[in-house]
Subunit: 154 residues, 2 copies
DNA sequence: TATTGTTATACTCTATAACTATA
DNA sequence: TATAGTTATAGAGTATAACAATA
């Protein structure tokens, strides 16, 4: 409440950092945390996490995909994908069959129940994106997506 | 290599999802992972992680800040902040003193060694941001920062 | 009663190395 | 030799509940 004094405690209720506020990496990290938290809220009761949602989306759009390719598409290492795929299998959302031409590989397919769950999740994701992007116009949303992909492909 | 056939394995080397590619949340998450990985590379040998960097920045710019306020500024819960502050203390980058007017609280101050480390980290962060933003012009960089903060605050 | 810092705990994500079976 | 999937393990981030000391 008073003017700051050197070596006195700056223990107000709020603190800022001009350095951090100028860094895009920091803004990316903090914004992602906020958006992912809203995603998780939006999925309440579905047992859906961001990583499971993205796996279901890729599997449905790429029927028969194997785990290595799935992991590469999503930036997940093979070893870390194993328990995640097992989770989808044991929840009967995805079917896993031996690959017809490569005995080492599995082929993953979305089944009916997985499709229903994904559809419900997609409906919730639409509302979630509308909520977190409420402050942006259509042009700004397209611009943000373009800029993010530019950085990522960079 | 051939045209896709229903229920045949789509086990090519690459897979995409139009659904995910349209979601800003997904773009945020993937882009942040790429940028954070480059940050970590940039800090090689410094023992610096994103969270420690942000803590040092806030402590230097808010001398005497207590742990609760520091955590609130960075979105870190008090309980999770304890081992992180201990790490900075044991590495002699930050000093912790009892708060003069509140016996429950600590007041955190950056010391000389912490300042030197933070300065070196800032120099590396500048090169890191230049690297990950190389594909964007100045106007685009400002725009991205503005849009990210709009989403986060919105 | 409320707040600061702490401890304990559990879950998720991530990273690495080594193994098996198949190619 | 190389690749697909697996196992084991360790580190880091995150979330909750409960406690002691102090306000």
């Amino acid at each position: 409440m008073n003017e700051p004094v050197a070596l006195e405690a700056a223990d107000g209720l709020e603190a800022r950092s001009e350095l951090l506020e100028g860094l895009i990496g920091y803004a990316l990290r903090r914004t992602t945390i906020v958006v992912m938290a809203d995603f998780i809220d939006a999925m309440e009761g579905l047992g859906m996490r961001p990583v499971l949602f993205s796996m279901l989306a890729v599997i449905r759009e790429n029927p028969g995909i194997n785990q290595t390719t799935l992991g590469r598409a999503l930036g997940i290492q093979r070893a870390n994908l194993v328990p995640l795929v097992n989770e989808l299998i044991s929840r009967r959302l995805v079917d896993r069959r031996r690959h017809p031409k490569d005995g080492r590989a599995f082929a993953l397919f979305m089944n009916g129940e997985g499709g229903l769950l994904l559809d419900e999740a997609i409906a919730r994701v639409s509302r979630h994106e509308e909520r977190v992007l409420a402050g942006l116009g259509d042009a700004e949303r397209r611009q943000l997506l373009t800029l993010l992909n530019k950085v990522r492909s960079g």
